[in-house]
Symmetry: C2
Subunit: 101 residues, 2 copies
Amino acid sequence: MKLLEIIKSLSNETRLNILEWLKDPFNHFPEEELSEYTPELGVCVSDIAKKAGMSIPTVSDYLKTMSAANILIATRRGQWTYYRRNEKSIQELSEFIKNKL
Amino acid sequence: MKLLEIIKSLSNETRLNILEWLKDPFNHFPEEELSEYTPELGVCVSDIAKKAGMSIPTVSDYLKTMSAANILIATRRGQWTYYRRNEKSIQELSEFIKNKL
DNA sequence: CAGGTATTTAGATAATTACCTAAATTTGTA
DNA sequence: TACAAATTTAGGTAATTATCTAAATACCTG
């Protein structure tokens, strides 16, 4: 649990938003763009970038930062990279703050 | 609960350290410097700056940032400003991450 | 009120982060 | 193999954050 790295990965409004959107993708991404979506995989980079209204490279980097911190999980499937939340890590973060911080 | 403001206030190694030190001041600050210490009040700016090995203005600003985010509580007592943890807010943060984030 | 101590505010520069475009890479497909 | 789509990597500038010194405030005390 690298607390500082995790906190830094969350210290940006767009990255926090992404985490919230991924909590309920069907509610936040147009269904037709989720054709490939399964909860197993998550949402692909370009759909997230479109929703965020930011460039794909920027969002790609955000997502990489968050998976490096283990808050998101990336799955490459063909030419797409899907990202989903790492619920276990998020709960661990909550517990760490509750008991150790 | 301004999540982003709170997270930003914690996204710095020294500020995280301060929060941990304040969890148990007697263990982290020389007793003679805590002569005025009571758990009611916390620890004063210059003691924290000395422990952090940073300048007083820098640490003063850190502490201000963290109290603005409501993670610390400041009490002015004469010429000293004492800072202590806001345990309630820290627990709220943990709960927010657990349930809402 | 004068001097002293603690803190805060101002003002600067260095370092880091944000975020873009262009180029390179990866993978599917004709 | 060659082209197209998705993503990542590079490289650059703008914005923010880090952190210092100097100056200004606050408050105590004789």
